[in-house]
Amino acid sequence: MTKCIRCNVTVDNQHYRCPLCSKPLKIRGESTTEYPSYKEIYQETKPFTVAKLFLFLTISAIVLSITINALTYHINPRIWSIIVSTGLIYAWIVVKDTILSNKHIGRKILYHYVMLSIFLLVIDIFVGFRGWSTNYAIPLFGVAATFIMTVLAIVQKSLWRHDIGYILAMFFINLCPMLLFVFNLSHVIWTSVFSIVYSLLTIIGMIIFSDRKFISEIRRRFHY
C-alpha cells in the first residue's frame, strides 16, 4: 500500500504508477485484486489480414478500371468501368462473405442472390436495357436459390431449426418478380408466375411434410 500524496488516496501494491495521476510509486508487489496484463492483446491487432488485402486489391482494381475507362473514352465511348466495378464488388463479397466468413449457409445464399440480381441488372442497364435480367435471370435465380436452400435444409436435416427463416425470406423475395411485371420492367410473364408457383409449392410442401416443430417454429418467429 502506498499513499499518493497528490491524490490523497492509497494505491494498491499492484501498481507502478498512481492510476489517477500517473505519479510513479516506489513499491510494487502482489495483490488479490490484480488484473491480467494486456500486453499480448495490444500486440495482437494485426495491420495486415487477408480480408484487408482483398479489400485493397478490389479498390485498386476499381480505381484503375475507372481511370483507364476515362482515358480511353474517346476511343471507346462506353462506360464499361461500371460493369467491371460491380463485378469486382461482387467478387469481393464472394471472398469476404462466402469464403472468409462462417455465416449461416442460408444467409450466404440469400446475399448472393441479392448481389447477383443487382449485378445483372447493372450490366443489363449499361448495355442498353433489353430486359433479360428482369425477364429471366432474376426470377429464375430466385427459384434456383430457393431450390438449393430447400435441398440443403433437407440433406442437413436442419429445416425446422435454422433454415426455415431463410426459406420464408426467399418465399417473399420470389413474390417480387410480380412487382417487376406490374411496374413494366419485365415483359415475360411465365418466369414471374413460375417463381411464385414454385415458392408457393415449397411452402405447401413444408406445411404438409411438417410436424409440430413447424408450427412451433412459426410461432416463435412471429411471436403470435
Binding site: 491524490c7 488516496v9 504508477r17 495521476c21 488479490t32 491480467p36 427463416g165 412451433s216 412471429f222
Partner: protein, 423 residues
C-alpha cells in the same frame, strides 16, 4: 423440442442498440481471499446450470421480435484475458450471452443486458460462489440467501414483471434538454479502463446521513460536482449534468424474477459557480426520493410497456424496429444523460461466506456518448466505486476520489486494470 422465451420488456432494447462500442455487457466480480481453483469453479458452473435456465439461452432472430432459445451446451469458464465489458461474440462461448471468467482471486460474470439486470446476475454469482466454496471443502449454511441447484426452477424466476405491474395510467411527458457530455481522447487501442476505489461502507453511509442523504444521492452529487469542477467550469457549456440511476423495481413491486426488472431515473442539475456541494447533495437527494416514489416508478413501467402493447408495433418487421429503437435510444436516452451511476447495493451473503469474499465489484459498460460510467457495490462493509471508461483522461475520477478522501475524510484505496496505460 427446444424451449424458447420472449425477451422481457427491457431486454428488447439491447439487441438493437448493441455494437462493439456500446456493448450492453456489464460485469460483476467477486474478489476472493484465496486464488481461484479452476476445476472447482467449472464444477460449480456445471451444478448451477439447471437452476438458471434463463441464462443458458441463445439469441435468435424472429421476423417481428428477437427471442431466446434454450440450450443444453455446457457453461465453459475461461481465464480472463480481455478488457472488461467487451462485446460478447455469439459465435463463440457456445453461443451464450454471458461469460464466467476467472483470474487470480477474481471470479467475474459478464452478462449481455438482454438476459437480466444486475439483480439477476448477482443471484447467479452468489449461487456460483456458494457451490464453488462447497467444492473447495467449506461447509456453508445457506440461510435462505442462495438459490440452490436442486431446488428446482421457480416459475416466478421467468416472469416479465413489467407486464405484471403494467397499469394504464396518465403520464406527463417532460421535454428535457440535452445533457452535458464528457469528451476525451480514445485509447490507442479500443478497450475499457477500470479504476476501483474502496471505502468503508459504514463510514460513507454515516457521512451521507450527516448531510441528510443516501449513499447513491451523495455520490451522484459528488460526481456531478467533480464533472463541473474539472470540465464545465472551464468551458462555455451551460448544459446540465444528468446522472442516470438504474432503479431495481423489485423493491417497490415485489417480484422474484431473474430477468430484467429495472427502470432508470435521471438526476439532473445545472451547476454554476455559486453551487455548493452540500446544496447539490440536498437537491439530488430530494430528486431521487421523489423519482423513486411508487407513483413515478409506475409511470416508468407504463412508458416502457405502452409502446410494446401497441398493436401496431406487433406487425412492424424486426429490422425496422431495430432502426426506430436505435434512433429513440440515442435521441431520448443517450443524449439526455451525462453518465450512468448504478448502485447494486449491499450484497447479502450467508454468514459463513463472508470470510471468503473480499470485495464485490460492479462494472458498467461505457458507450460513445457516455465514455465513462460508474458502478457501486458493497459487501463486508467494503464499498467499491468503479469507473469504467474508454477515454484516456482521468481528471474527473481524480477529482472525485481526492475529494472523497480529502474533504470527506474517508480512506480511499485505489486499484485499476491499467488498460491503455503504458508500462
Amino acid at each position: 423440442m427446444k424451449k424458447w422465451y420472449k425477451l422481457d420488456n427491457a431486454a428488447k432494447l439491447f439487441p438493437s442498440v448493441t455494437n462493439t462500442k456500446n456493448t450492453s455487457v456489464y460485469r460483476i466480480s467477486a474478489v476472493l481471499t484465496n486464488p481461484v481453483d479452476v476445476d472447482a469453479l467449472q464444477q460449480a458452473a456445471d451444478t448451477v446450470f439447471d437452476r438458471f435456465p434463463m441464462f443458458t439461452v441463445k439469441l435468435r432472430r424472429g421476423v417481428f421480435w428477437n427471442y431466446l432459445e434454450s440450450s443444453t451446451d455446457k457453461i465453459v469458464i475461461a481465464e480472463d484475458q480481455q478488457y472488461p465489458c467487451r462485446n460478447i461474440d455469439p459465435t463463440t462461448n457456445n453461443g451464450y450471452l454471458f461469460k464466467v471468467l476467472y483470474y487470480k482471486n477474481r471470479v467475474s460474470v459478464e452478462v449481455f443486458h438482454a438476459l437480466t439486470d444486475g439483480n439477476g446476475a448477482v443471484e447467479f454469482l452468489k449461487s456460483l460462489l456458494y457451490y464453488y466454496l462447497m467444492y473447495m471443502g467449506h461447509e456453508i449454511d445457506t440461510e435462505d440467501r442462495i438459490l440452490l441447484a436442486d431446488s428446482g426452477v421457480d416459475i416466478h424466476d421467468m416472469e416479465d414483471a413489467f407486464r405484471r405491474y403494467y397499469k394504464d395510467c396518465y403520464v406527463e411527458s417532460v421535454r428535457n434538454s440535452r445533457a452535458y457530455h464528457i469528451k476525451g481522447t480514445a485509447f490507442e487501442q479500443f478497450g475499457n479502463n477500470v479504476v476501483h476505489g474502496v471505502v468503508s461502507a459504514s463510514q460513507l453511509n454515516a457521512l451521507a446521513k450527516q448531510k441528510g442523504s443516501t449513499i447513491t444521492a451523495y455520490l451522484s452529487a459528488l460526481l456531478s460536482y467533480s464533472i463541473y469542477q474539472t470540465r464545465i467550469k472551464y468551458s462555455k457549456s451551460n448544459a446540465p449534468v444528468v446522472i442516470a440511476v438504474p432503479v431495481n423495481l423489485r423493491k417497490a413491486f415485489p417480484s422474484r424474477t431473474l430477468r430484467n426488472f429495472f427502470g432508470v431515473v435521471n438526476l439532473g442539475a445545472r451547476i454554476t459557480e455559486d453551487t455548493t456541494l452540500d446544496e447539490l447533495i440536498f437537491r439530488m437527494n430530494e430528486m431521487l426520493k421523489y423519482k423513486t416514489g411508487k407513483e413515478n416508478l409506475q409511470n416508468i413501467i407504463y412508458n416502457n410497456v405502452a409502446l410494446e402493447r401497441n398493436k401496431a408495433t406487433l406487425f412492424v418487421p424486426l429490422f425496422l424496429k431495430n432502426w426506430f429503437v436505435n434512433l429513440g435510444f440515442h435521441m431520448l436516452g443517450e443524449s439526455k444523460r451525462t453518465l450512468t451511476l448504478s448502485n447494486i447495493g449491499n450484497i447479502m451473503l450467508p454468514q459463513q461466506m463472508y470470510k471468503h469474499v473480499e470485495l464485490i465489484e460492479a462494472l458498467v459498460y461505457p458507450s460513445n456518448k457516455s465514455p465513462m460510467n460508474c458502478g457501486i457495490s458493497s459487501v463486508n462493509d467494503k464499498l467499491v466505486i468503479t469507473f469504467t471508461r474508454n477515454i484516456v483522461e482521468s481528471d474527473i475520477l481524480q477529482y472525485f476520489f481526492s475529494t472523497l478522501a480529502g474533504e470527506a475524510g474517508l480512506e480511499v484505496k485505489i486499484y485499476s486494470n491499467d488498460w491503455g496505460i503504458s508500462e
